[in-house]
């Protein structure tokens, strides 16, 4: 089993936010309180490390909401393992960023 990447607290918060259902840049900024200059580069890094993946929203859906399509991020399988390890390392992040209501089953 591959060892999980060790994340900084900030990166772990961002990964936790994505895992909790905050799927695009500005929503991550809002929930974490981090500035755009931190969030977006961290998203690039997490994506390059294959902990998250991005996908553009379908044009139809965006048109229905009368806005341009958004780029959404999702946690990958490797990202989930890393997130679990990060939660153990930073136990407060799960309490700081709870799951979105719509994400709860």
């Amino acid at each position: 089993m591959a060892a999980e990447a060790k994340l900084s607290h900030t990166a772990a918060m961002i990964l936790q936010a994505i895992g909790a259902g905050y799927g695009y840049g500005f929503s991550i900024m809002e929930i974490t309180g981090l500035p755009s200059g931190t969030v977006y580069p961290a998203l690039r890094r997490l994506e390059r490390e294959a902990l998250i993946r991005s996908q553009w929203e379908r044009q139809k859906k965006a048109d229905a909401a009368q806005r341009p399509p958004r780029k959404y991020y999702k946690v990958t399988a490797a990202g989930k393992a890393t997130l679990e390890a990060s939660r153990k390392r930073y136990p407060l992040i799960a309490r700081l960023i709870p799951e979105k209501e719509s994400e709860r089953v």
Partner: protein, 194 residues
């Protein structure tokens, strides 16, 4: 919004061309959303610079493949040239790295007026002030077994021996050698070319 889009357009030039269109599309759509819900759109746009810069650095970091021996050597050569250029421009490093113009430079000291720190006319040779030199000269216990004096002159390299003084090239050169010998209180003075 136009100004912010213009800013994003300028900043996007930092982003590697392969990622630029997608980067711009993401920031445009995010900016639109930010403008709807917040008044901090300028602060938001400032983050674009950090993002673009990060992408630029990251792309460079991984586009340089060190696996090739030729590239590896080129990279090492570049590093060595940069380090050498920096060392040659820093006085202390230059003294350590470059070979001295003077034979046995570690055993040499320039006697010169004390004009404060950084005024040493021969920065690669230790400086002794006139005052220090006079103290040494008048001291009963000589701290050195022997002292040899050199003087920088404007003329060609000439040497005067105590027994058979050789002619010097010019009156100016002769005067300089005499002055040096007089100052140091020696009958012998070796003059080197400037």
């Amino acid at each position: 919004m136009r100004m912010q889009l213009a800013l994003l357009k300028v900043v996007s030039l930092l982003v590697p061309s392969a990622d630029r269109a997608e980067w711009m599309a993401e920031w445009k759509t995010e900016l639109r959303h930010v403008r709807l819900v917040s008044k901090k759109s300028w602060a938001f746009c400032r983050g674009a610079l950090a993002d673009a810069f990060w992408l630029r650095v990251w792309a460079r970091r991984f586009s340089f493949d060190l696996a090739s021996p030729a590239r590896c050597l080129l990279w090492l050569g570049l590093l060595a040239t940069t380090a050498w250029t920096i060392a040659a421009n820093l006085p202390v490093a230059r003294n350590l790295v470059l070979p001295s113009l003077w034979a046995d430079a570690r055993g040499l000291a320039a006697v010169a007026p004390d004009m404060g720190p950084g005024s040493n006319p021969l920065p690669r040779i230790q400086q002794v002030t006139f005052g220090e030199f006079r103290r040494w000269k008048n001291h009963r216990q000589t701290p050195f077994e022997s002292l040899v004096f050199y003087q920088i002159t404007g003329g060609p390299v000439l040497r005067t021996e105590p027994s058979s003084a050789q002619p010097v090239a010019s009156e100016k050169g002769r005067r300089r050698v005499r002055e040096a010998a007089g100052f140091f209180g020696q009958s012998e003075c070796v003059a080197s070319g400037e």
